[in-house]
Symmetry: C2
Subunit: 276 residues, 2 copies
C-alpha cells in the first residue's frame, strides 16, 4: 500500500519543497515537521506544520501520530545540535545514548539512528528519491557539455578521495584540478568548499565530485546539486560536476542543466566500482 | 663528511629563516635560492641569494654549482606553478615529463621528483629536521596543558582521516570536534582550514591533527605549526593540536608553547600505528 500521509522532516534549502510538491503530485498529503530558523517559510505557509526540536523525540512522534502520518522523509540541511544544551523529553532520553555514540562516528551514523528509530516505531522511512524520483542523476553527461580527458582523470581522482573520506563518514565532495586536490568537503558543505577554490592553485579547470558515502542509507542525506552549485562551480573556474548516477539529486533539473549549458560546464553521472 | 655549503631553496613563511640560522649555527654556509614574492625579504637581506623559477632547472643547478653548494634543502611554502605557462630551459625540458606525471598524483609526488633529481645530480638533499633538529615535535604534551578523554578520541579520528587522505597525497591536516570532522585540509593550507572552523558545528572544543603522508620522504614538506597556528586554533575554539612526534616541526618553539599555555591549548606529539 502506498503511503497516504507523509511527515516531511524538513531542513533548510529548496529540496524539501521539491519533495513536498512531488508527494502531492503522487497523491499524498504532506505534514511538515519544521526546524526554527531553518525550514523555508514558503513551505510552512503552504502546508500544515509544526516546529520540532531534536531533543523532543516524544513530541515529534506524537505530532506524527496526531496528524495521521504513516511515513516520514528527512530531507534538507539541518545543523548538528549542540548536544551539551539538549533538554530531551522522556523518549529523547531513551534515545540519547545511541545518538551520542553515533554522533561521535559522524553525520551518517547519526542519521542512521533516526532512520532505525522511525522504522521501529512503524513508520515507513522514505528517501527523497522514492518520492521525487526524477531528481536523481542519470548516467553520463546530462547537459550539452561532456567532460574531456583531463576532466575524466580528475573525476577518477576525486572519486578515490570522496570514497576514502566517505568510508570515515566525513563528507561527500571534493574538487580536483589537474590531479591536484584543491578542496575536500567536511562540515562546511559544498557551497563553502567551492567558494574557497577560486583562489587556489594556478590556472582554471577542474571538477567537483559528489558521491554518497560507502554503505550510506540512501533514505537520508543524498548528495545534492542545483543552480547555486553550478553558479559556484563556474565562479571557481571549474569545468564541470560529476555526481553519482542514481544516487545524487539534481534539484530544479531544467534550470540547473540550462545554467550549466550557459556556463559551459558539464554535469555528468558516474557509477562507482562495485555499485550499479 | 658534513655538508659545507647549503643551497637553501626557500619558499614562504618563517621556517626557511629558522633553518638558515640552524645551518649557520652548525657551521654551514648558506646560499638562498629564492622565489619572487614568496621568500621572506629579511632572509634575502641576510644571505647571498639568487631568484629562481620552477622551469629554469638548468639555471638552478648552475647557481648551486657556481656558489659551491654541496647540499640542498627545500623548505617553506611554494605555490604550485601554472604548468601551462612554464617556459623551461633545456634541463627543465628534460625533467618536464616526469614533473607533469607526478603533478597529477599530488604535491608529495611532485616534490619527490625534485628530491630524486638533486640526489642524482650529486647533491645531498637534507630535510629541515636534519639541520634544525630541535624543531621536531616530541612525544606527548609539550606545553602545560594535556589532552582530555574526548580530545584523545578526536585525535584518533583525526589521525584516521589524515592517514586516508595522505595515502591519496591530498593533505596533512584535519579538525575534529566531538567526533565530527569539521574540516579537512587540501590545497588551502592549515591557516585557511582553521579560519573556517570558527563558524562550523555547535559548541567549542576539538583538535587540529597534522601528520606526514604515509610513505612521505621526510626531507620535504614536513607538517609545521607555530605561533600563528596556535592563535588560529584558539580563535576556532579548539582545545589543542596533535602533531606527529619526530616528524612535524614546531617552529619558534618557546614562543609557540608559551602562546599555547596562555590560550589554554595543548600541543601534543602522537605516534602513528606502524611508525615509531
Amino acid at each position: 500500500m502506498s503511503p497516504r500521509r507523509l511527515g516531511l522532516i524538513a531542513g533548510g534549502g529548496e529540496v524539501p519543497g521539491n519533495v513536498a510538491d512531488a508527494a502531492v503530485a503522487a497523491g499524498m498529503e504532506v505534514f511538515v515537521l519544521a526546524f526554527e530558523e531553518t525550514t523555508d517559510p514558503a513551505l510552512l505557509a503552504r502546508f500544515p506544520h509544526r516546529f520540532i526540536r531534536f531533543d523532543k523525540v516524544g513530541g515529534t512522534l506524537e505530532a506524527l501520530k496526531a496528524n495521521d502520518c504513516d511515513s516520514v522523509c528527512m530531507v534538507g540541511k539541518v545543523a548538528r545540535p549542540d548536544f551539551s544544551k539538549l533538554r530531551p523529553d522522556m523518549a529523547g532520553i531513551g534515545l540519547l545514548p545511541k545518538v551520542l555514540a553515533a554522533a561521535r562516528k559522524g553525520d551518517d551514523a547519526l542519521l542512521q539512528v533516526l532512520v532505525d528509530f522511525f522504522d521501529k516505531k512503524g513508520f515507513r522511512v522514505m528517501g527523497a528519491h522514492e518520492i521525487a524520483g526524477d531528481v536523481l542523476a542519470g548516467a553520463g553527461p546530462m547537459g550539452r557539455v561532456a567532460p574531456g580527458e583531463q576532466d575524466l582523470a580528475d573525476i577518477e581522482k576525486g572519486m578515490a578521495v570522496v570514497d576514502a573520506l566517505g568510508a570515515l563518514d566525513v563528507g561527500q565532495g571534493a574538487v580536483v584540478r589537474d590531479g591536484l586536490v584543491l578542496a575536500v568537503e567536511a562540515a562546511e558543505g559544498t557551497d563553502r568548499m567551492l567558494e574557497r577554490c577560486g583562489g587556489l592553485g594556478e590556472g582554471a579547470g577542474g571538477v567537483l565530485v559528489k558521491l554518497t558515502k560507502p554503505g550510506q542509507d540512501h533514505r537520508v542525506d543524498l548528495p545534492t546539486i542545483g543552480v547555486e552549485t553550478v553558479a559556484r562551480a563556474a565562479a571557481a573556474g571549474l569545468n564541470g560536476i560529476a555526481v553519482e548516477a542514481g544516487a545524487a539529486m539534481v534539484i530544479d533539473r531544467v534550470a540547473t542543466l540550462a545554467r550549466a549549458d550557459a556556463e559551459g560546464l558539464f554535469i555528468t553521472g558516474v557509477a562507482r566500482a562495485g555499485r550499479t
